[in-house]
């Protein structure tokens, strides 16, 4: 009576084959990175638009796992303009975090690899790094100095056995080795003040567990901003927090961004948070960008059926509905993606063209781009995201 058939079951023989393949490919990729690292001309490039801080250009990041290749991010295209906030939204597992980890080069290696595309990071002097090929030593200079990251769970990112002050000091010292101890401490206290910690001398001597979730997140923000980065990546910065504290933290982030002239890449699944903060919004689904535009484009003229479904499934205070809309079906298996539109099996608005290959990007306006056949006649048809054939690696 039970049914054990499941496409994700793998025989021992297949499993051995996968392991062998993974080992070969990841070794080769690691070797290539190593080689590229010695020659700056291989990883130095120029921005397409100098007003961007980062440009993701058909980025493909795959995990070579025991069950096969997981195409966590597969042909992602978008950019983060200077001094602006870009919100990245989508369901759990759609590749939001992997996108940001690819930019930071913090993927779990060797199984996680960016196998295709370019991530161009603006150095501000007319040149840019292609992060995908940049060697680790150069990345360390960028991380924390130019890009810093705020994580979802502030407790796991702070070391429980060290005092708050020491942890902030350490980061400042790491990036400013010439500073004296007194200067470092003064700078730490200044940072704590900036993120709105009232009792800064006291907090300086406290341990992480003595602080509330909201205060811990403030400390994380202080650490992230210690070196005035040009880009702040905030991965679900307020998901673990309550609405009142969430409001405080978001206000704080927005204010500091303007003060430091930085950009923010805000990753979240809360559309309300994005609406309040972001200038641009990128909607991801199953490892690809399905729609992007200004906040006005996305919230007032959503086009992709997935974006529309996502908006409808969130209850909104003051808007009474009997039953919440829920998108039917579930995300396709990431090991075995179809070659047609990834959303087709759940889509309630399909048309004839949807039977074809994965839809191309369609430019509706200068800012608004959607990947869906429904709008094929409504705008300029751009290219399709390009997958990497792993067999050829």
């Amino acid at each position: 009576m039970s049914e054990h058939k499941n496409s994700s079951y793998i025989s021992a023989k297949e499993s051995r084959k996968i392991t062998r393949f993974n080992r070969r490919v990841t070794k080769k990729l690691e070797r290539e990175r190593e080689a590229a690292g010695h020659d700056p001309s291989l990883y130095t490039t120029v921005m397409k638009d100098p007003n961007n801080v980062v440009e993701f250009d058909n980025v493909c990041t795959y995990f070579f796992s025991d069950n096969g290749v997981v195409k966590a991010v597969d042909g992602v295209n978008f950019s983060v303009p200077k001094c602006s906030t870009v919100g990245v939204v989508g369901e759990s597992g759609c590749g939001k975090s992997v996108t940001s980890l690819s930019l930071m080069q913090l993927l779990q290696r060797p199984s996680g690899q960016t196998v295709g595309g370019q991530i161009r990071f603006n150095l501000g002097d007319g040149t840019a790094y292609d992060i995908v090929k940049t060697p680790t030593s150069k990345m360390q200079e960028i991380r924390g100095n130019k890009i810093s990251m705020i994580f979802q769970e502030p407790m796991t990112s702070l070391n429980p056995v060290f005092r708050i002050g020491n942890q902030v000091d350490e980061v400042i010292k790491l990036h400013n080795p010439q500073m004296s101890d007194e200067d470092v401490k003064a700078r730490t206290l200044e940072m704590l003040d900036m993120v709105g910690i009232a009792n800064r001398e006291g907090v300086y001597r406290m341990y992480p567990h003595e602080l509330s979730g909201g205060m811990r997140q403030r400390i994380m923000i202080a650490i992230a901003l210690a070196c005035s980065p040009t880009l702040i990546i905030a991965d679900e910065p307020t998901t673990a927090l309550d609405v009142t504290i969430q409001a405080q933290i978001l206000d704080l982030l927005q204010g500091l961004k303007d003060k430091l002239n930085s950009s923010i890449m805000l990753i979240t699944h809360d559309l309300g948070v994005v609406a309040g903060m972001a200038d641009y919004v990128v909607v991801m689904y199953a490892g690809r960008v399905v729609e992007k535009g200004t906040a006005d484009d996305i919230f007032h003229h959503p086009m992709h059926p997935y974006t529309i479904g996502l908006m409808r499934s969130k209850p909104v205070v003051g808007r009474k509905v009997d039953e919440l809309y829920s998108i039917p079906g579930s995300v396709p298996n990431p090991v075995n993606m179809p070659d047609y539109c990834y959303f087709r099996d759940r889509c309630e608005l399909t048309c004839d063209r949807c039977k074809g290959l994965y839809p191309p990007e369609i430019k509706i306006s200068d800012t608004h781009i959607v990947s869906c056949y429904r709008y094929y006649e409504d705008g300029e048809v751009l290219g399709q995201p390009k997958s990497v054939n792993v067999e050829e690696l």
């Binding site: 309550d242 609405v243 206000d251 906040a295 919230f299 205070v317 829920s326």
Partner: protein, 372 residues
């Protein structure tokens, strides 16, 4: 009133005894208190108390949903658990279907257990990894003999179907399921015991928006079909607004306001409710909401401020708020609130007298309250 339909098609025996409680209300909470002692590390002496729940009162109508909201650490989960007697209350009383729970013997309480269930926040850790799904759902059904033995298998299948779980999941293990499916399993486990009352403690907080919608719809449908009464704990106010008939707001262990959902969202009385609701993010970039940003952070529940516990952060704080505890009052019909702004003339006089007395005793404004 609508008769409660029974998933096992067995009649629920009506609660016995003449009751002054019960009737319209399934659950009534009177002055419920739960303190956790703080022990010193040396002699294991009690040196203070965390006042997790500090005297709350409310009633829930049969077949309705009460939402319970507030910042984390304000005592929502503790309130839910104490109501179900998963935690022993420090004082106060809970009437379930007219029966005072404190008067019940251990055995009587055990018999009542299946009728009060809880669904937890974290669908990952609340399921035993070593049991197959069928067993997780059925274990307690057998223990409490909810259905005759020969009907057992069929019954479990029926419960699973009601929760949108295909029958063949019975032999699978929890780790094979996604967060949303696990939450369905947790709901099925609670539902199988044929309860009247279910405490849902942040049941969708760990899930994605699209899966949240599925679970919320499921809970609502089950309520319609089986007449369940819910206590729905959440810090997501838009979800609470959607699912609840009434909403209670807690701050630092006390309930500050309780009334119908529409009323509390359209005109909140208590300054804390107002601040809390103003922080709800709205999915529209043009709506520039006027957030009331609360200053400072939640004071420690082990050492709450004097008088009104909210006075250290309240924009409308008055002199009297720092000394006299505001009374839990039905300010308007079916609208309870604890705030000096709504004091009647008598209450005002009493509060002022209490203030003078406190001042005479020399209790400092923000000083610690003496602990038991």
């Amino acid at each position: 009133m609508e008769e409660k339909k029974n998933i096992s098609q067995q009649a629920v025996p009506p609660a016995e005894g003449a009751r002054e409680h019960g009737g319209e209300y399934l659950v009534e909470v009177e002055n419920l208190v739960k303190w956790f002692p703080i022990k010193s590390s040396f002699f294991r002496l009690t040196i203070g108390n965390v006042r997790a729940v500090d005297g709350i009162s409310f009633k829930i109508r049969r077949g309705q949903t009460m939402g319970l909201v507030g910042e984390s650490g304000c005592g929502k989960s503790t309130a839910g658990r104490t109501m179900l007697r998963l935690l022993e209350p420090t004082s106060g009383e809970v009437y379930f279907d007219g029966q005072p729970l404190s008067a019940l013997s251990r055995q009587e309480l055990r018999k009542l257990r299946p009728r009060m269930q809880i669904v937890f926040q974290d669908p990952y850790s609340s399921l035993s990894p070593r049991l197959p799904v069928g067993e997780i759902i059925g274990e307690a059904v057998r223990e409490h003999k909810i259905v005759p033995r020969e009907e057992y298998d069929d019954y479990i299948s029926r419960v699973m179907r009601a929760c949108g779980l295909p029958e063949y999941y019975k032999d699978r293990y929890p780790h094979e399921f996604s967060g949303g499916q696990r939450q369905r399993i947790c709901i099925a486990r609670a539902l199988a015991l044929n309860p009247d009352f279910i405490v849902c403690d942040e049941p969708v907080s760990a899930l994605d928006v699209s899966i949240q919608a599925q679970i919320i719809n499921l809970l609502k449908r089950l309520q319609k079909d089986f007449g369940f009464t819910y206590l729905f704990i959440s810090h997501d106010l838009s979800v609470v607004e959607h699912i609840s008939d009434t909403v209670g707001v807690m701050y630092l262990g006390s309930m500050v306001e309780y009334t119908g959902t529409e009323k509390i969202f359209s005109h909140p009385l208590h300054p804390y409710t107002e601040a809390l609701f103003s922080a709800i993010p709205v999915p529209d970039p043009d709506v520039k909401i006027n957030r009331i940003i609360l200053k400072g952070s939640l004071p420690s529940p082990a050492n709450p401020p004097h008088g009104c516990k909210f006075h250290t952060r309240c924009e409308k704080c008055m002199e009297v708020c720092k000394y006299a505890v505001p009374e839990w009052t039905e300010v308007e019909p079916e609208h309870w609130c604890a705030c000096h702004l709504y004091d009647s003339p008598q209450q005002k006089a009493a509060a002022e007298a209490a203030m003078e007395e406190a001042k005479a005793k020399g209790i400092s404004e923000d000083g610690p309250q003496e602990t038991l």
